[in-house]
Subunit: 201 residues, 2 copies
DNA sequence: CGGATAGGTGTACATTTGTACACCATGGCA
DNA sequence: TGCCATGGTGTACAAATGTACACCTATCCG
C-alpha cells in the first residue's frame, strides 16, 4: 500500500514545514497551504498516511510525528533516566530526570518509556544487579511472572508480579529476601513493566 | 545573559520532547511535566528563553522552534553486533556483523568497539546471562580481575582474567564451572575488555 | 532600606485545533 | 452495472491552547 501522489505532496509539505518552522503544521494550515475548502480534506490525507505507517498522529494540536522515510534519526529512542523518586509523586515527571540516554529502538520490547536505576540486589537471580539501569514501559497492567516496577505505600520497588486468589504478591529473585504481600490496606500501584536493562562497567 | 538552571531544564525538556515525540510540547504539558500549578510558570520560562535567542515562539499551538545550540542529534555510538565467530578468524571482520545498534556514548567506559552475544551461563554470578549483549573494547591488555573476551585454541570465551606466577587463568563466575588454565602450549589471546551489557526482555 | 529579577500561583478568555457527521464526484474494477 | 477507494465540500463542537492580568515569595545587590 504505497502513498498516492496527493498523499506524497502532503508528506513533503509536512517535512518541509517541520524543517523550516521547527514544529508540524496544524490541519488547517495544511488545508490552506493546498487551497482546500475544508479541513477534512487535509485530515483525511493525514489519516491515510498514518494508516500506512508513514507518520503517527497524537490527536493533539500539531501532533504529527514522521516515521521511517522521514526526518531525523528515527531508530533511536531518547529515554529519561529517572533518579530518586520522591514519595507520592508520579515517576514520569521532569523533576526526577537525571539525564537522557539514547538507545536503539529495536533493543527492547515492548518499547520502554524511561530508565530506572536499580537500588539493592533483590533481583540478583534475574541478573539484575544494584546500580543497573532497567528500561520500563509505563503501564498499569501486568501478568503473572512479569517483572514490574510497583509502588507500595509510596516506595518504588522492582519485583516479579504475581496475583492469585489471596491477592498480589511481589516476589524477589533472591533467596535472602521475602515476598511483599499486598493487602487491601496498602497503597499499591503498578508503575510499569520491565523491558530490559543496561549496565555500564 | 545566560540561561538560568531552571531555564536550562526547560530547554532540555523541550529538546527531548521534540526528539521523542516529533513535535514540541504545549505550555500546559510543560507545566504538568514540571509540576507547576499554573501554565504561566511554563510560559514565563519560554518567553525568557525566547528573549535570550535560544528559541522562537510563534504564538500558535506548540509554536516552539529551538535555535542555535539546541536540536542536534544525541551523542550516540553505532556498534556492530557480532554473531557467531568462526574459529581462527579475527572477531572484528565484516562477515561477523549481524546488525548495528545505536547506543549512548556515555553509557560505557571505556568506549566499546563492538557488541557480542553471550552464549552460556558461566558468568551468571556477575549478572551476565545467556543471550545478553556485552559491550567490548578491542584491546590485548587486561589487568587481574577484569572481565575479558579471550580466545583459547580458537574458541571465544568470556571470563574473569587472572595472571600469576603460574600463568593465566580464566575464571568463570559460576560455581558449576571450573577455571580455564592457559599454558604455554595453548593458542591464547585477549580479544577485548568487557565494558557493560545490554539485555532485551 | 529599596528595588530589581527569577520563579511561581490562580483565574479567565478568545482562538486554535482535531475530529465527527453528512454529503458529493470521479475513476478503477470485478 | 454496482462497488469501493480516493479526494473533496460544508458545518459544527468540545477540548486544547497561548496569553493577559493580578498578586505572591525569595534572593541578590547597590
Amino acid at each position: 500500500m504505497a502513498p498516492t501522489p496527493a498523499q506524497l505532496k502532503v508528506l513533503r509539505f509536512l517535512r518541509d514545514h517541520i524543517i523550516r518552522r521547527g514544529y508540524p503544521p496544524s490541519v488547517r494550515e495544511i488545508q490552506h497551504a493546498f487551497g482546500f475548502a475544508s479541513p477534512n480534506a487535509a485530515a483525511k490525507h493525514l489519516h491515510a498516511l498514518a494508516a500506512q505507517g508513514l507518520l503517527e498522529l497524537a490527536g493533539r494540536a500539531r501532533g504529527i510525528r514522521l516515521l521511517g522515510g522521514a526526518l531525523p534519526a528515527a531508530d533511536t529512542l531518547t529515554l529519561p533516566l529517572i533518579g530518586k523518586v520522591a514519595a507520592g509523586m508520579p515517576i514520569l515527571v521532569e523533576a526526577h530526570v537525571e539525564r537522557n540516554l539514547s538507545l536503539d529502538r529495536s533493543l527492547f520490547k515492548p518499547e520502554p518509556d524511561y530508565l530506572l536505576r536499580v537500588v539493592g540486589d533483590s533481583m540478583i537471580d534475574a541478573g539484575i544487579l544494584d546500580a543497573d539501569l532497567i528500561a520500563i514501559r509505563h503501564t498499569p497492567e501486568a501478568r503473572n511472572g512479569q517483572i514490574v516496577v510497583a509502588r507500595v505505600d509510596g516506595a518504588v520497588t522492582v519485583k516479579v508480579f504475581r496475583r492469585d486468589h489471596r491477592g498480589v504478591h511481589l516476589m524477589p529473585r533472591n533467596p535472602a529476601y521475602s515476598a511483599i504481600e499486598v493487602d487491601a490496606t496498602s497503597d499499591f500501584a503498578i508503575e510499569g513493566l520491565y523491558c530490559g536493562l543496561v549496565r555500564g562497567a
